[in-house]
């Protein structure tokens, strides 16, 4: 039974990465209608950014938590301005192919220069060590990841669903022409939203740098699972993707305990089941 608690907690930790990443995807899909396959690549860029800040400029983990998402977010906004914006109004497939191609290029470039085994990034000294919870040894850093990503998720949800800025944004996706008529700069808003989604991915990258090796393929390994999370949660649903992210982390954690061989597959089995029963995802609305 104790082992089970431990697995639940571990699942929650992985779930926080899924939640952060799928949240960014959901924001981008919900607001821009782009299936952002470059999400894994920008997640990886976030981790690399943290690595460079530390090893080239001597800037530690805490500032990196802010600087890296902003830097990568700006990179995302440039992508949006120069490439993605030309695809608005076209079929989803075009955005998907473009971002997929971008992801391959970005990963290829990083792999060319840094190889595949990755670079080390230490846990910040304040968060080293662990707590003995009785049923398991919880590394403090992992606890921090859960708490911090929960806060970020809820803040993002609040920003989009409850503030005036969020309301404008949602209105702009529903009817851009009308919103423009109110004097709101819709293209700029779209760019900022893409930057926000990409920044969230980069933030997850910084969070994961001390846990995983900083590797060019770290995002490619994760992105497919995260897409499954988004599909299960309902494309574009903010709350849906947060909840599904955490829930799937837990389910995957339990699978690792009861039948580890299937731990890579369980998410996709769930995805198939959900699609068969409720094609719009658990919290998704049918598009009209």
């Amino acid at each position: 039974m104790q082992a089970l608690y431990a697995q639940l907690l571990v699942g929650l930790i992985n779930g926080s990465f899924y939640a952060l990443l799928s949240l960014g995807l959901a924001v981008i899909f919900g607001m821009l209608n782009i299936i952002n396959f470059a999400h894994g690549a920008v997640y990886m860029m976030g981790a690399f950014c943290a690595y460079f800040l530390l090893n080239v400029m001597g800037i530690g983990y805490w500032p990196a938590l802010i600087i890296a998402p902003i830097a990568v977010g700006i990179f995302g906004m440039i992508l949006e301005r120069t490439m993605l914006q030309w695809l608005s109004g076209l079929d989803h497939l075009y955005g998907l192919l473009l971002t997929f191609g971008l992801a391959l290029i970005i990963q290829g470039v990083f792999q060319n220069y840094f190889g595949s085994s990755g670079l080390p990034y230490a846990i910040p000294s304040e968060l080293q060590g662990g707590l003995n919870l009785g049923f398991m040894f919880l590394p403090i850093y992992r606890g921090w990841v859960v708490v911090f990503s929960l806060i970020v998720c809820i803040a993002t949800w609040y920003l989009i669903e409850k503030t005036r800025l969020g309301a404008n944004l949602r209105a702009a996706t529903e009817n851009p022409t009308l919103v423009r008529a109110f004097g709101i700069n819709v293209p700029r808003m779209i760019t900022l939203t893409y930057g926000l989604g990409v920044g969230l991915a980069a933030l997850a990258g910084v969070l994961s740098a001390p846990i995983n090796q900083v590797r060019p393929l770290m995002g490619a390994d994760l992105i497919i699972v995260v897409f499954a999370v988004v599909v299960i949660g309902g494309m574009g649903s903010i709350m849906g993707s947060i909840i599904t992210g955490f829930a799937l982390g837990v389910i995957e954690g339990l699978t690792k305990y009861f039948y580890p061989e299937a731990s890579n597959t369980v998410v996709f089995v769930l995805m198939v089941l959900v699609l068969l029963v409720k094609p719009t995802g658990l919290t998704g609305r049918a598009t009209t």
């Binding site: 104790q2 082992a3 431990a6 697995q7 571990v10 699942g11 930790i13 992985n14 290829g108 792999q111 060319n112 220069y113 840094f114 190889g115 595949s116 085994s117 990755g118 670079l119 080390p120 230490a122 846990i123 662990g130 398991m136 040894f137 590394p139 850093y141 992992r142 846990i211 995983n212 090796q213 590797r215 393929l217 770290m218 390994d221 994760l222 954690g253 690792k256 305990y257 580890p260 061989e261 731990s263 890579n264």
Partner: protein
């Protein structure tokens, strides 16, 4: 009349004989480096293996003697089906004579069958499964650098002797992991230890915390990592996070490469002990080669034992072809010739190739240095034990290979 016919026959025979003599003098060689160029094993094989092959061609001096040698390279993406398709095309269309590297045991076993069917040659320097020279042995395959039996034998025995008598395995769930776990379990049991449990994780797993918790709960003295590459580095990194070593358990890296240690950094990797058959800083010969190698790589990396094996294997292959006077493109014959000649090169020293295709050379037990002991980049290992080649690998008496006469 009969005289004229016999003269004619003699003449034809002479012409044909001359033709086949010309064929035997064929001095073209095509080398195929089939490896992981983009995935989790690309640092320990990949472009470095192709570079090692180029260096072997240059150092052999065969070009000056009129030989024409080409190297092709392809990414098998760690997928046996892609590897076999590429290999088939290489043999049928591109006339590749010899396959080098072929890391990943799943890939290697698949290519092994094809190479045998087509009478080509494989010098495998990257895959670990000892089945390549045992149940699946082939007259066309030489297993050059290391194998699961040798790793288990050397590292496993040393750790049990040092008091690590209860084991828990974290195993990569494919041919290689299974073979490594099986061979190590056998050594542990034989040395008087016991295996408490095992958990099998999918290849290329990012998060090991679930598995590590299970290993921790087992209270085994040794957590044996029967995985490789990125899987191993992630396990080691996360094990330190979960306090596995601090809690009194010891991690055993059953297969670790210098590129893994480099990527982990000495702070995390220090104290790990494991077995390799090549290290750049062993002697003058290895240092000289590694320096030249490193200068030609983008990241200035030292060669892994897989890459060193590509060089060493090709040097021996060239020697055999030179002794035969030309390339007959007959895989079995050339491999037989290679087996009959002793091996000798600056990287692995003197050695030999057994009837089952197993290349013999010493196995070294290394321990990773503390950061304070390291004099600079890539100065990572302390040599703590050497097993001679004859004792390091599976004895022929235990072999089930059909090529071994009993």
């Amino acid at each position: 009349m009969t005289n004229r016919i016999s003269a004619l026959l003699l003449g034809t025979a002479l012409v044909f004989g001359a033709c086949s003599a010309v064929l035997a003098q064929d001095k073209t060689i095509k080398i195929g480096v089939l490896t992981d160029n983009s995935g989790l094993y690309s640092d320990l094989g990949g472009a470095g293996s192709t570079l090692a092959a180029q260096m072997a061609v240059e150092d052999s001096g065969l070009a000056a003697k009129g030989w024409k040698i080409d190297i092709v390279s392809a990414d098998h993406q760690n997928k046996p089906d892609i590897a076999v398709n590429t290999a088939r095309q290489w043999i049928d269309v591109d006339k590749v004579d010899i396959f080098m590297d072929v890391l990943n045991s799943g890939v290697a076993l698949a290519v092994n069958n094809l190479v045998k069917e087509k009478n080509a040659i494989m010098i495998n320097t990257g895959a670990a499964s000892s089945d390549l020279t045992n149940a699946q042995c082939s007259p066309n395959t030489i297993h050059w650098v290391y194998d699961t039996y040798m790793l288990a034998n050397s590292t496993g025995q040393a750790l049990v002797k040092a008091g690590g008598d209860s084991w828990y395995f974290l195993t990569a769930d494919y041919a290689f992991g299974h073979a490594l776990e099986r061979d190590t379990s056998a050594v542990v049991l034989k040395s008087g230890g016991k295996v408490i449990g095992t958990v099998r994780h999918p290849l290329n797993t990012a998060d090991f915390s679930s598995f590590l918790l299970q290993a921790q709960a087992s209270k085994a003295k040794i957590v044996g990592m029967a995985n490789a590459g990125g899987d191993t580095t992630n396990t080691i990194k996360q094990a330190s996070e979960f306090g596995i070593v601090a809690g009194g358990q010891k991690l055993a890296g059953l297969l670790l490469f210098i590129t893994d240690v480099h990527s982990l950094g000495l702070k995390v990797a220090q104290g790990l002990s494991f077995t390799e058959t090549f290290y750049w800083d062993l002697n003058d010969g290895t240092r000289a080669f590694s320096k030249r190698f490193s200068e030609r790589t983008k990241s200035k990396a030292m060669p892994s034992m897989v890459q060193a094996g590509v060089y060493s294997g090709l040097i021996h292959y060239f020697k055999a072809l030179e002794a035969m006077g030309g390339n007959s493109h007959d895989g079995i014959k050339i491999v037989e010739k290679m087996k009959s000649m002793p091996t000798d090169d600056p990287l692995f020293g003197k050695g030999s190739i057994r009837a089952d295709g197993r290349k013999l050379h010493p196995a070294y037990l290394f321990e990773v240095k503390k950061p304070s002991e390291s004099k600079g980049p890539w100065d990572y290992y302390k040599l703590i034990g050497t097993t001679p080649g004859e004792q390091a690998f599976r004895p022929l008496s235990e072999s089930v290979c059909a090529l071994v006469k009993k």
